[in-house]
């Protein structure tokens, strides 16, 4: 096995813990939902499109995003629910873009189905807008080469993986995920960086994503 390249800069793993902040805003109809989607803070759009990721790993029956769940389960708008659930989130590099895509999907559906605006959620079943407040903390784990990196990946919390893959890219508007950025810039391994950044993390559980990244790095180490 060739000697591993030492990183120019070590990689410090951070973790991201979140607190749910209530906005007091609620929607009873599709029209109200659309109006609020356009005006709530980005951290609320982020919450309702990403909350499921940390629950999904447990195979709970949560659907991919809260808007889709409410529209399907409460308003009975199955087709619109499906359209929202299948938005290819990875394509959007900012919350702004994602918000616009969600809003335009609802608008075009309303254009085709004006009667959809007549439906009301009954009392107690309104859509409540919540925001995610994120706290980013450095952990004690630091990697200086790929071997250390893979070993730490095995024991770090899924919150840490979540932070470096999702939050760094979409919410903090970095060009790629943190792992790929470090591997390319500090280890000079553009090929490995590209493979990791080509994964669609939205279609697997966080545990599966962890295993996939470890596998690809270990294969790289043994080459």
């Amino acid at each position: 096995m060739p000697e591993l390249i030492k990183a120019k800069e070590p990689f410090r793993f951070c973790t991201r813990l979140h607190l749910s902040e209530l906005t007091g805003l609620r929607a009873t109809t599709l029209g109200q939902l659309l109006a609020l989607i356009k005006e709530v803070p980005g951290s609320s759009i982020y919450h309702h499109t990403h909350r499921f990721l940390q629950q999904h790993q447990y195979l709970s029956p949560e659907p991919p995003n809260d808007f889709a769940y409410w529209l399907t389960g409460i308003l009975g708008e199955d087709e619109l629910g499906e359209r929202l659930a299948s938005i290819d989130t990875i394509q959007y590099s900012t919350i702004r873009d994602l918000r616009e895509k969600i809003a335009s999907t609802i608008e075009s559906y309303l254009g085709e189905n004006p009667l959809a605006e007549m439906k009301f959620a009954s009392a107690g079943e309104e859509f409540h807008f919540i925001k995610s407040v994120s706290f980013i903390l450095p952990t004690n784990y630091v990697a200086r080469d790929l071997n250390e990196f893979a070993e730490i990946l095995k024991k770090i919390t899924i919150d840490s993986i979540y932070f470096h893959i999702f939050e760094a890219r979409l919410r903090l508007e970095k060009p790629t995920n943190d792992f790929s950025f470090w591997i390319e810039n500090s280890l000079g391994d553009g090929k490995l960086a590209e493979i990791i950044s080509s994964f669609d993390p939205y279609t697997s559980t966080l545990e599966d994503l962890r295993k996939k990244i470890i596998r690809i790095i270990e294969r790289r180490i043994s080459q």
């Binding site: 813990l17 749910s20 107690g124 409540h128 407040v133 903390l137 952990t139």
Partner: protein, 404 residues
Amino acid sequence: MGQIDQYIPLAGQSVIDDLKLLGERLKGKVIQHINSTPVGGGVAEILNRMVPLLRELGVDTRWDVIKGGEQFFAVTKKFHNALHGRAEEITPRDFEVFMETSRQNIENLDTYGDIVFVHDPQPIALVRKRAANKWLWRCHVDVSNPDESVWGFLMSFIAQYDSAVFSAPSFSRKLPIRQFLISPSIDPLSDKNKELPQEMIDSVLKKYDIKKDKPIITQISRFDRLKDPVGVIETYLLVKKYINCRLILAGGAAEDDPEGFKVLEEARARAKNDPDIHILLLPQNDLEINALQRGSDIIVQKSLKEGFGLTVAEALWKVKPVVASNVGGIPLQIKHKYSGLLCHSIQGASFAIKQLLGSPEYAKKLGENGREHIKNNFLITRHLRDYMLLFLSLYYPEDVVHLC
């Protein structure tokens, strides 16, 4: 091994590591919890477990209790019912009684904390004493449809806090201060929830003369009209027409609840000496409650209103099938037909119980899913993390907080 490390097998090493990281960020801050009773009810139960754990994590946490007489607690009970939307006649005198006791507490209780964490409406007026420190108000009550006169009265205090905390999104409304969503939790290692040997479960059933000769349906709750014990008896009677079963209604009485004994008498009157109905007024005996839950076939929580309904989480943690009202925080714990059955009426509850008694495999699956859901979302480790983040949020107003 510290107490906190005992949670590693349940929550995972890295979760406990995160709690320790957060604890370090709160070093030097004094957190002062204030509520109205040291025993009885969910708030005291959570604080009893949480305060020592926070201390072990390096967060200097203390707990004080306000003082109040019979009159004061009669008024706060009326407030409690009115906040839950029940019709109550609240007189100007009631507000005076509330303020008289509040003034005494403002005078006598030292609010020394860097963060003063006030629980529920009883101590809410203490905020008049606020200085340069931070103040949090934790609402454990279902305020989705409150009596507006009581809510308006409380709002004059709530607006003086830095942040408020609610247990379910449906309790939130537009407020002039920040508000957070934090669900309460159960402690899997407490006497109420830890694993018990079968002999102990059997001996508790024997002690209360409860035979295991037919299915046992149980509701564990304080004797409180909002927990609808009489409705549970009506439900049982509908089930009993078709399936021979027993009913246990067991619970204690909180010091700040003067109505409890009246409700207990109403339940006894409705039970009419039915030998299969066991009404047990239990003193604070968590091990016995644990044994009764584990010895039951179905757990019911037929509340009319519910702040959160931790008895549901307790039952699900014990892999029990649960039938519960679709109110307050209960739908956060039960996804209908996945981790339990939700109901809206006596008839609905009895139908659900009959369904479960007739399909034990289905009932078992609901219980198993329920335990997994509680494990991932409603254990004390998640609650500790949320509270520590809440404390930190008082010093960071932004949506993304870098603590690097």
